[in-house]
């Protein structure tokens, strides 16, 4: 059997780092379908999983891939798939199923130029809203966005842990540039990697209610075949897990699915701040755009402009509280993202009149040009002074 944690220093692409992160996090089941630019994940998984006693299956399409994750999750595995925008669209029905049945799983979405077939080999960041509300109905998921191969490794472990704790599908919003970027990746010793597994039943089978939530609104999860009665359904279900098609049960279940993320957002949300203490203007960004913004900030500080960086690590749930607090102190937020304003619209909603909000958009195909972003930031800053 091969090693599951390849402790040491490696030179890996973002996609390959995702695979190593997943395997280190205990992922032993992968079901996927080829799509550019996520293929390297499937390819490396097909080699690595058999080495560590896992299962790799290639499905006939994305619908089946995502459905297989729901099945594998209830079979006790930590399952994962990887795809890109068009594939994520096809997965949406089953992502809704995973949210409704509270099946922990991780979906890597290597974003590319979109909509439709778009730019299969070039970068995009336009799946932000699709990740949140692509499926029908009210539900909440968690989405993470890495900006480097090292973060692909680290956040993959985080993604699996979050999926297991909160029992939701976690969408890993990578993008083509991060995926195909090769950098130094440090994989820590196995003992240093903290893993979490889902809450298991604490009472004997005859007393167990599979969908009775704990204080954190998350129920304990049995595994099919352990002796517990497992009845899983996409229909509105009661605490026993049986369909109960009444407004009363529905109004208990759906708010709980939403609130287990919204009410616990403080425990989930992560972000990174740079020079925000004295900043007058803060760039808000995520994924590969973070690297562009870091460069812009360096230049701005060199010229004495008080510009800071707020980088989203979890895009969903959105770090609302911190943004509201920052908005009181500063003059403007500038969102830099490779889409036409999906995070920006969320910023506007949160910031309201507290300060100004700007957007530096890019439809995709290439990352922002740092020169252009810097010029625009300078213009915004000078406009604010007047």
């Amino acid at each position: 059997m091969g090693k599951d944690v390849l402790t040491g220093v490696h030179f890996l692409s973002g996609n390959h780092a995702c695979v190593e992160g997943a395997i280190a996090a205990g992922c032993r089941f992968y079901a996927g379908y080829p799509i550019t630019p996520s293929n390297e994940i499937a390819e490396r998984m097909s080699v690595r999983l058999p080495q560590v006693g896992g299962i790799y299956i290639q499905m006939e399409d994305e619908l089946a891939s995502m459905a297989a994750l729901v099945g594998a999750s209830w079979g006790g595995a930590k399952p994962m798939t990887a795809t890109s925008g068009p594939g994520l669209s096809l997965m949406q029905e089953n992502i809704g199923l995973a949210a409704m049945t509270e099946s922990p799983c991780v979906v890597v979405d290597v974003q590319r130029g979109s909509p439709s077939t778009g730019l299969p080999t070039l970068v995009g960041q336009a799946d932000v809203m699709q990740a949140r509300w692509g499926s029908h109905g009210d539900y909440e998921i968690i989405a993470l966005a890495p900006s480097s191969p090292q973060e692909c490794f680290d956040f993959m472990i985080k993604a699996f842990n979050l999926a297991e704790i909160w029992r939701v599908p976690v969408i890993f919003l990578s993008d083509e540039s991060v995926a195909h970027l090769s950098e130094r990746v440090v994989i820590p010793p196995k003992e240093e990697i903290k893993l979490v597994t889902r809450k298991r039943p604490s009472v004997p089978p005859e007393k167990f209610l599979p969908f009775k939530p704990g204080s954190d609104l998350v129920p304990e999860m049995p595994i099919a075949g352990e002796g517990y009665r497992v009845h899983v359904t996409g229909l509105t279900h009661n605490e026993k897990g049986y369909p109960d098609l009444s407004a009363k049960v529905h109004n208990k279940l759906v708010p709980r699915l939403v609130n287990k993320i919204r009410k616990n957002a403080d425990k989930i949300v992560e972000y990174e701040e740079l020079f925000t203490e004295d900043a007058e203007v803060i760039l808000v960004t995520f994924g590969i755009s973070t690297r562009i913004c870091r460069d812009v900030i360096k230049r701005a500080r060199a010229e004495g402009l008080k510009v800071g960086l707020f980088r989203l690590i979890t895009i969903w749930p959105f770090p609302e509280k911190r943004i509201m607090a920052l908005a009181q102190k500063i003059k403007a937020f500038v969102t830099v993202e490779i889409n036409l304003g999906q995070v920006a619209i969320e910023m506007e909603r949160i910031v309201k009149e507290r300060c100004k909000t700007f957007l530096i958009p890019n439809a995709g195909g290439a990352v922002h040009d740092p020169d252009e972003v810097f010029a625009e930031v300078k213009q915004i800053v000078s406009g604010l002074v007047e």
Binding site: P34, N39, T117
Partner: protein, 323 residues
Amino acid sequence: MMPAEEKAFKGLKARELPKEELFTQGHRACQGCGGALALRLVMKAVGNRVIVANATGCMEIISSAFPQTAWEVPWIHVAFENAAAVASGIESALKALMRKGRLKKEKIFVLAIAGDGGTADIGLQALSGALERGHDFVYVCIDNEAYMNTGIQRSSSTPFGARTTTSPAGKKSIGQVTWKKNVAEIAMAHHIPYVATVCPTYYQDMMNKVKKAITTPGPAYIHCLAPCPTGWRCSPNLTIEVGRLAVETGVFPLYEVTNGECKINYPHRRLKPVREYLQLQGRFRHLTDKYIEIIQERVKEEIAKLQALEKFSSFYKNALANF
């Protein structure tokens, strides 16, 4: 939809082959691409009164990007899974517009083109639906036996023992461990008027079958084996040879099924050993004698089944005629 009177089409003679190129040069296929050759022959046989719906895949991406557009006919790129469904829409719309007199009544063919992934995997549902509804269209599957466009990942059409990037051969596996899905047989199960398998090595046979498919009222399905030097790991000058050996060894027999009556066209001589076909390709290089023997047995079995179908279907037809 029942087929109306069949036109007597005897087949193209070598001197009658159309000179017109509707899938032209300048596209960016790899050297020795069997798929591009197949498309060129298909378009020659179909002629210019056609609308093409092309699913995502090698053939779409090599032939459509500006300035290497190879198509001389109306052409629509659809998503991965829906060539048959979009073709259904086109055919229905033409029918409706002609019925209402908004379009001149004439024969406009509808051609759906997809790869093996877009046919045997993700597009199977759409294909089955279109065949069942009986739209008057031709579906051509350009089968290069893996997802070559995204980088040689296995599909359900990848043959047993082949190495791909997602069915790697090594200590734990011999590569693809399942047998190739027989989509032509699945199409036959829909009892459509015409099903055929073709290979561009047998160009005349191929063009004749496409011509027959397009003139047959109702749905027709053509499964084309398109050797892919890049993915099969063989020299680009061997495309034609590999195609010939696929047929002569019985790995990919060429046959047609017209209204349930099966006729095997090739191989028409004794089968060559499959080893001759396998050894030309790097994707089978790791196979030991044991696995080559397993493949040989399977090929014999499949050919025997096909021959039985041929005998049975003609017997059945005679029996029905004399009933």
